[in-house]
């Protein structure tokens, strides 16, 4: 009996040793360098991926990238997060509603006082912070939501791109008569169908007035004649008027990009981080995109773009309890927001969030359109600070399928907001 138990003991010891050595994030011996896990969005552009490599080279630390698919990004991140698994660095939404769902006070490191915050203007007044504490390091220009349009289609039809919903409804029959799908919606990807109603609400959300009223419980989404119900009603009317593609229920957002570039569709409501997807739809040919695609702001009644700090380039540092890795991850944030940031802006040809970094040269024309529209009039997405709005896209699917009318959808969504706001312990609920 003795020999087998010794054998068993050795085997257990070996297994334990192997499993302990397999626990990823320990430092290579004696170097002070560590392995950092970074959960990132699969849509990270090449320039950002290059920055991760540069950090590895400069610091000697190793970054293990865990790619979260951009389709269903929020769900997948939440699912991983809920298991208690924590990366050293998390790339995620900077909206307050996104941040609240991470329970920041418990789980995230407070970055208040870091140098980049003062260089970001009033960005952290509306994003990346809760209860006066800054948790995010936002390096990406906000996602700017508006209307991509095909220039050639509009020129051929003798129309100018619409900047309010009345103009959009007016352009619809003329574009249909020209044999073009007026607006391409991709219900197969689910999330894109919530963009048009959110754009509509920009008119009522100047200075985030509507968002604050809903989050503070002084108004509800389902109030009689509320802007939200009006937005859904306007959407339902566009659908009833045949302004959308026939395969609205099954089409994916990649299909919408392709339809826009080829001129099969005249317009797509999307955001500025979709530019790489637009380029991919054009076979990687920037010239085709520049020649065929433009961008304008759209709301209920004014030419406004809607913006929301996006997940691309927004980093959080979860508490891990490992001093070496926590120091290294803070170094990462300082690297991303430090002198190397200007190189990133030049390489990515996107606009900087830091005032002291100049705009890049050679920005694609469609992105110049985005910046122009943003500078002309930009309103934060009304749902940015409201928790529990994650169900909007699903309700839009039911609205499209004719299962719910705007008022019923608004009532149901208000229930979800209430559920989340109470869980988050927001004042007024």
């Amino acid at each position: 009996m003795r020999a087998p138990s010794r054998l068993l003991g050795s085997a257990i010891g070996a297994v334990l040793a192997l499993s302990l050595s397999g626990c990823g994030s320990s430092a290579p011996e004696g170097t002070g360098q560590v392995k950092l896990t970074l959960w990132h969005n699969s849509a990270d552009p090449a320039a950002l991926l290059e920055m991760y490599k540069k950090f590895e080279k400069q610091s000697g630390h190793k970054i293990e990238l865990v790619s979260i698919p951009s389709d269903g990004f929020e769900d997948t991140t939440q699912t991983k997060w809920a298991t208690g698994d924590r990366p050293d660095i998390l790339e995620y939404h900077a909206t307050v509603s996104g941040l609240l769902a991470l329970n920041p006070a418990e789980n995230l490191r407070d970055l208040t006082g870091e140098a980049y915050i003062a260089r970001s203007g009033d960005l952290y007044q509306a994003a990346g912070s809760v209860d006066g504490k800054v948790y995010a390091a936002i390096t990406g220009f906000p996602q700017v939501f508006g209307l991509y349009y095909n220039k050639k289609v509009f020129t051929a039809a003798g129309l100018t791109p619409p900047t309010n919903f009345a103009e959009l409804a007016g352009a619809c029959p003329k574009l249909k008569a020209a044999g073009v799908t007026p607006v391409f919606e991709s219900g197969g990807s689910i999330w894109p169908v919530q963009i048009l109603p959110i754009l509509y609400l920009a008119g009522a959300n100047q200075a985030n007035a509507y968002g604050k009223a809903i989050a503070g419980h002084s108004s509800t989404l389902a109030d009689a004649g509320s802007p939200f119900v009006a937005g859904l009603t306007a959407y339902a009317k566009l659908k009833a008027d045949g302004c959308f593609n026939k395969d609205i229920v099954t089409a994916k957002f990649e299909d919408s990009m392709k339809a826009l570039v080829t001129g099969e569709a005249a317009m797509v409501a999307q955001h500025s981080d979709m530019l790489p997807a637009l380029l991919a739809a054009a076979g990687g040919d920037q010239k085709t995109v520049d020649e065929s695609v433009g961008f304008v702001g759209l709301s209920s009644d004014k030419p406004l773009v809607t913006y929301a700090p996006g997940p691309i380039g927004t980093f959080y540092l979860p508490k891990t309890g490992d001093a070496a890795r926590e120091k290294a991850s803070l170094d990462f944030v300082r690297f991303m927001t430090g002198p190397a940031y200007a190189e990133y802006i030049t390489a990515s040809k996107t606009f900087p969030v830091f005032k002291d970094v100049p705009d890049p040269q050679g920005v694609p024309s469609v992105l110049q359109d985005v910046k122009k529209a943003y500078d002309t009039g930009a309103v934060i997405a009304f749902n940015s600070d409201i928790p529990g709005m994650g169900g909007l896209a699903q309700l839009m699917s039911e609205l499209i399928a004719g299962q719910k009318d705007p008022q019923k959808a608004a009532t149901q969504l208000q229930g979800q907001v209430e559920q989340a706001a109470k869980a988050a312990g927001l004042p007024g609920w």
Partner: protein
């Protein structure tokens, strides 16, 4: 007592596995269905039936249960009808039948998500199926067809396996019984109804239970094909559970998981009991 002593060692591995991987996790986690667990705060408190009330108030629970039960019945009916027909056709072991058995078994080896994505492409309005039929129809986008089509995809995925069980059942039926029936003047239909089908009872019990229970906990094929749409027409319990989980409402998601368990117990236990009785009396 002697019987029990002889039976226990053989059943022990199964009892241990079921206890460790099913019973214990279930007992340890069932409390979350009645808790205020969300991603928004760390405290988890008992909140009774609040999660169920919330799911009912938001029109989520009743539809999800209806869709799940309908889907399970469809999957069970389609798979067993198709598989039994295939088994009867491919029962004899011959070269050509082996090829067909392998061909029908092949989808079982494919990941359900991959199967879903393949069929989503084939069934798209501009996909191969519509091109072949010369029609334009959003198979997965029309409320009238989506659930049935997804059930057919699930059947395509699993019928090969169910067919093998039926073939094994058919091959275990003594030939002398069929020969006696033929001598007594029974035609093919009478032989099937009076001899084959009753003798297939153990295979039928297994297949009906497996297909029904499997479909009650459906998620992967639905997620890959419709994502629960159009609207909520294919939004089964596990799809809603994933959506609730994704929004950080973990207590509500657990309540939905608990509902799936209850549904499985409430349908599978009486069903298996009835089918087993039928095996003995039939």
């Amino acid at each position: 007592m002697r019987n029990r002593a002889a039976w226990l060692p053989w059943a022990l591995p199964a009892i241990v596995l079921v206890t460790v991987f099913f019973v214990a996790p279930f007992l340890l986690n069932v409390r979350f269905a009645f808790s205020s667990w969300t991603s928004f705060r760390s405290e988890i408190t008992w909140n009774g039936l609040e999660n169920v009330r919330t799911l009912i108030d938001q029109d989520l629970l009743a539809n999800a249960v209806t869709v799940t039960v309908l889907y399970a019945i469809l999957c069970m009916a389609i798979q067993n009808t198709v598989s039994l027909s295939l088994a009867l056709a491919l029962q004899r072991t011959s070269g050509i039948n082996t090829v067909f058995r392998s061909a029908f078994f092949l989808p079982t080896l494919i990941s359900p998500l991959a199967a879903g994505y393949i069929w989503r492409g084939l069934l798209a309005p501009d996909g191969a199926v519509n091109s072949f039929l010369g029609i334009e129809w959003a198979w997965l986008g029309e409320p009238s067809t989506a659930l049935v089509v997804v059930a057919f995809i699930d059947a395509w995925k699993w019928s090969g396996l169910i067919t093998l069980v039926y073939i094994a059942g058919l091959n275990s039926i003594p030939k002398s019984l069929l020969e006696s029936a033929t001598v007594d003047g029974a035609g093919p239909w009478t032989r099937f109804r009076r001899v084959l089908f009753p003798m297939l009872a153990p295979a039928l019990t297994f297949n009906v239970a497996v297909t029904l229970v499997g479909a009650l906990s459906a998620y992967d094929v639905i997620a890959a094909t419709t994502g629960g749409g159009p609207g909520d027409h294919t939004r089964a319990l596990n799809v809603v559970m994933r959506q609730q989980w994704g929004q950080g409402f973990f207590g509500s998601a657990s309540a939905l998981g608990f509902t799936v368990t209850l549904l499985v117990i409430a349908t599978a236990v009486p069903l298996v009991w009835w089918l087993r009785r039928r095996e003995v009396t039939g």
